[in-house]
């Protein structure tokens, strides 16, 4: 079976498992919804202020919510030690990593699709810059979160307090990506500057960390 076929089969399996259990999606949605509601009660910004802070609020909410999905990704492989069945097979390690990362990308993407209209409604947002740029910012930002998150979730798999370990490893390393996402989103919403630099930063971040994760994942998978 080819690299691509194993990736596709593993991704289909993960989507099927999530569709049946809805563990990750439900937890993420509730968490993100809580963040939106709590923030909206905490302060009542004007439309101008909203544009300046919404980028930060929305991405921090997605980052925290994504951690829930990232922990679930590998937790289901630990039940019944199913991961061992993959490890004893001749399938290479990287299709598993890519399938998990793509799966998380889809789950977080669904979260963003549901939550973004709510953010827009609660904070009365309207983009003054080129709104189409929000699409690549969302895609690149989400990939930045899930590629490292999937990797570090696998790394913390065998640690006792993995729910704590994942954010400890992930958040510091996500700061450059978070800066890119927040500043690019703010630039589009306020229309005061171009988001191109921040988008380029996100592209570079995604390329570097995707390659690094692919190079190191087999070692992480085989570690005891």
């Amino acid at each position: 079976m080819s690299f691509l076929a194993i990736t596709r089969a593993t991704l289909a399996k993960d989507v099927r498992l999530e569709w049946r259990s809805k563990d990750a999606i439900n937890s993420m949605l509730f968490f993100a919804l809580l963040v939106v509601v709590i923030f909206s009660f905490s302060f009542d910004p004007t439309a101008e202020e909203s544009r300046r802070i919404a980028g930060g609020l929305i991405w921090v909410a997605f980052l925290f919510a994504a951690v829930v999905a990232l922990n679930q990704t590998w937790a289901r492989e630990l039940r019944n030690q199913v991961l061992d069945a993959y490890r004893v097979s001749p399938a290479p390690a990287n299709p598993l990593f890519l399938a998990k990362a793509f799966g998380n990308f889809i789950f977080v993407g669904v979260l963003e699709a549901v939550m973004t209209p709510l953010f827009i409604a609660f904070y009365k947002l309207r983009a003054l810059g080129p709104a189409w740029e929000l699409a690549p910012i969302a895609a690149l930002g989400t990939w930045a979160l899930v590629v490292n998150g999937t990797f570090f979730a696998a790394m913390s798999l065998r640690t006792r307090s993995r729910e704590i370990m994942l954010p400890l490893l992930l958040f510091p390393l996500s700061i450059p990506a978070l800066l890119g996402m927040v500043n690019a989103t703010t630039a589009v919403l306020t229309g005061e500057e171009s988001a191109r630099f921040w988008i380029a930063l996100l592209v570079a971040y995604d390329v570097v960390f995707t390659i690094a994760c692919l190079l190191l994942f087999e070692t992480v998978l085989e570690a005891e």
């Binding site: 089969a9 004893v88 001749p90 005891e224």
Partner: protein, 224 residues
């Protein structure tokens, strides 16, 4: 064959030591397991039986010593020739038996016709459309055996295959294991019910405190 004796084995283990922190699970195991034989590995809890199987399967790396499987020192290179059944089922509870088998068969590049062939050989007659989580423990064990046999392995490593299996199913499984042995497969079976395999086993291997202390062709008093 006694410990240390040299013949051309399918599995050759030399001075194998496996430590987990300060605890040595295997303390210098040297053994050879020949082709076309069924070995029953016995010993009390904590004797190192499961660790020995996991190390041979490539799931645990030796701290010291060497392992050669089918003449190759790197287990991953011959993993398509190994079937591994662990104490946990290594199956996804939320997916049906057939969905599980189709996924794992895909990792070996095997089609669904082989899944049906092995299901029939194990005489598994459940409603395979049901999720594995709804199977009885005995059915899960048999489904787990089906998964281990999918790739028609030359070497079969079975950890507690009879636990929670009813006596009739256990007899059917024993007959199947004997057939596999007669077809030239090598089987290493860890069990606490050696009586079930007494009529078909070629050798009983007794482990104590991380070492092989006895090998005999007959089940003797003192063995469980």
């Amino acid at each position: 064959m006694v410990e240390g004796e040299s013949t051309s084995g399918v599995v050759v283990v030399n001075e194998l030591i496996k430590q987990f922190g300060g605890f040595a699970a295997l303390r210098g195991v040297t053994a050879e397991f020949a082709a076309g034989k069924l070995y029953v590995i016995l010993g009390e809890n904590g004797a190192g039986k499961t660790t020995l199987l996991r190390t041979i399967a490539g799931l645990a790396q030796p701290t010291r010593g060497t392992i050669s499987v089918l003449g190759v020192p790197i287990v991953k290179q011959v993993c398509s020739q190994i079937g591994y059944m662990a104490h946990p089922s290594l199956l996804y509870d939320e997916m049906s038996g057939m969905e599980n088998l189709t996924y794992f068969a895909g990792l070996y590049g095997i089609g669904t016709s082989r899944c049906r062939e092995v299901i029939s050989a194990v005489k598994l007659d459940p409603d395979l459309a049901r999720p594995v989580g709804q199977y009885s423990q005995g059915m899960r064990q048999r489904m787990s055996l089906v998964r281990a046999l999918l790739n028609d392995p030359m070497l079969l490593l079975l950890d507690e295959p009879f636990s929670n299996v009813d006596s009739r199913s256990a007899q059917e499984m024993t007959a199947l294991l004997a057939q596999l042995r007669d077809r030239g497969k090598t089987l290493l079976v860890v069990t606490h019910q050696p009586g079930l395999l007494e009529s078909v086993a070629d050798e009983f291997v007794w482990m104590e405190q991380g070492k092989i202390v006895d090998r005999t062709s007959r089940l003797r008093a003192g063995m469980p």
